[in-house]
Amino acid sequence: MVLILFSLVAGLLIPVPDLPIIHQSIRNLFFHVGMWFAMLVIFTISFIYSIRYLSGFKTDNDIVAQEASKVGVFFGILGIATGMIWAKFTWGSWWVNDPKLNGAAVSLLVYFAYLVLRNSLNEEQKRAKVSAVYNIFAYVLLIVFIGILPRLAQGSIHPGDVNNPLTVKTMDNHLRLVFYPAIIGWILLAVWILNLRIKICKIEHKMNTL
C-alpha cells in the first residue's frame, strides 16, 4: 500500500523528461504499465494453480486459479482503460490496430471465455477439471502469441519494442525511481486483493459444504 501511495504521489509530482509526443502523459507509465505487470503475474499464478490442481485434485487450488483469473481480468480492464486514455492523448484515438493492443484484447477475451466456461458447468469436480485444462491450454498459447507476434510484426507504435526507441533504457533516473516501486506496488496490491478473495471464497466453500 505504501508503494502504491508513493507511486501515486510521486508519479504526479516528480519532474519528468519532456519527450516528444508523450510530454506530461509519461506519468501514466506508473499506472498503466504497473497494471499490466500485475495482470500478467496474476494470470501466471492462475496458470500455476491450475497445474497444481490437475496434479492433486485439491479444491483449494481450483479456488485460487478461479479467483486469480477474476482479479487478473479486473487489472486487465484497468490496464486497458488507462492505456486507452493514454492512447487518446498521444496517438489521437482510443484504439489502434497494433499487435500489442490486440494481444491485450485477446488475453482478456480468453479469460472471459474461461469464466463463461466455469459458469456453464455445474458439477464441481468436473468444472474444476475442465476449466483447469482450458486455463493451461489458453495460457501457453497466449504466452506464445504475446511473446512472438509483436516481434515479427514490423512497426508497432507501442513503446517497449525492439524498433521503438522508448524503452526502459531511455528512462531517466527520476522515472526509474518511481517506476520500479510502482510496478512492485501494483503487483503486491493485486496479490493482496487475490488473497482476500481466496479467503472469502474458501470460507464460502466451507459454509456450503457444511
Binding site: 471465455a113 466456461l117 468436473k126 475442465v130 485444462v133 506464445v144 507476434l149
Partner: protein, 222 residues
C-alpha cells in the same frame, strides 16, 4: 508403447473415415455450408475489388466452416461409445486420432473452399506456393486447436455457443498470422520473406498438439 499407439491411432482414424463415408453427413453438410456462404458473399459483393477484402473474407469463411466441421468430432459420440473407447484405447491415441482425422477434414475443406472462392470471386493470388503452404499449415492449426476446444466444450451442456466463445480467442493469433502470410501471397514475395511467419504457425501447431497430448487424459477420465 509407441507401435501400440500408432496401431491404435491408425484404427481409430480409419474408424472415423469409415463412419464418415457411411453417413456422408459431416462432409456434405460442410460442403453445402461453404458453397452457400460463398454464394451469399458473391451475391452481396458481386465482385471483390480489393484483394485485401478477398483475403479477409476467405479466411473468415474458412474459420467458421472449420469450427462447424470440427465441433462435431466429440459431440456426435454418445457417452456410452466414449466409455467403450476408453476401455479399448489409450486417451492419447484418441486425441491424436481425432486431430489427424480433423486435419484431413479441414485440408479437404480448405482446398474446396479455395476452389469455390476462386471460381466465384476470381483468383487473386500471385504466389500460389506460399498461399497453399499457409492453407495447409493453417488447416493443421485450426484442426488441432479446434479439436481440443471441442473436447472441452463437449463436457458442457450448451456446447455450440461455448465452442465459438472458447475457440475464437485462441484461434485469433493463428488467424492473424495466416492472413499476414496470405496477404504477402497476394503480391509477389519470396519464400525467405515469409519463412518467419510460416515458422511461427508451425510452432503454434506443435505447441497445440503437444498440449493436447498432455492435457486430454484429464478431460477423458471422469
Amino acid at each position: 508403447m509407441a507401435p501400440m499407439l500408432v496401431h491404435e491411432i491408425k484404427h481409430l482414424v480409419l474408424k472415423d473415415i469409415r463412419l464418415e463415408l457411411k453417413q456422408k453427413y459431416a462432409i456434405n453438410g460442410i460442403i453445402l455450408y461453404v458453397v452457400s456462404t460463398i454464394f451469399v458473399c458473391y451475391l452481396s459483393f458481386s465482385r471483390i475489388i480489393e484483394p485485401e477484402t478477398w483475403n479477409s473474407l476467405f479466411w473468415i469463411i474458412l474459420l467458421f466452416a472449420s469450427v462447424s466441421a470440427v465441433s462435431k468430432s466429440f459431440v456426435q459420440e454418445s457417452r456410452s461409445r466414449q466409455l467403450y473407447y476408453y476401455s479399448i484405447a489409450s486417451s492419447q491415441s484418441v486425441i491424436l486420432s481425432k486431430i489427424i482425422y480433423n486435419l484431413l477434414l479441414t485440408v479437404i475443406l480448405s482446398l474446396f473452399c479455395f476452389g469455390v472462392f476462386a471460381l466465384l470471386m476470381s483468383d487473386v493470388i500471385v504466389n500460389h506456393g506460399i498461399f497453399f503452404m499457409a492453407l495447409i499449415l493453417g488447416s493443421f492449426g485450426f484442426a488441432s486447436i479446434l479439436t481440443m476446444v471441442s473436447a472441452i466444450a463437449s463436457r458442457t451442456d450448451n456446447n455450440f455457443t461455448l465452442m465459438a466463445v472458447l475457440s475464437f480467442p485462441l484461434v485469433l493469433p493463428l488467424l492473424i498470422t495466416l492472413m499476414k502470410v496470405s496477404k504477402n501471397a497476394l503480391i509477389a514475395t519470396t519464400w525467405a520473406e515469409n519463412s518467419n511467419l510460416l515458422l511461427v504457425i508451425l510452432l503454434i501447431n506443435t505447441v497445440v498438439v503437444f498440449l493436447s497430448y498432455l492435457l486430454f487424459p484429464y478431460l477423458w477420465r471422469d
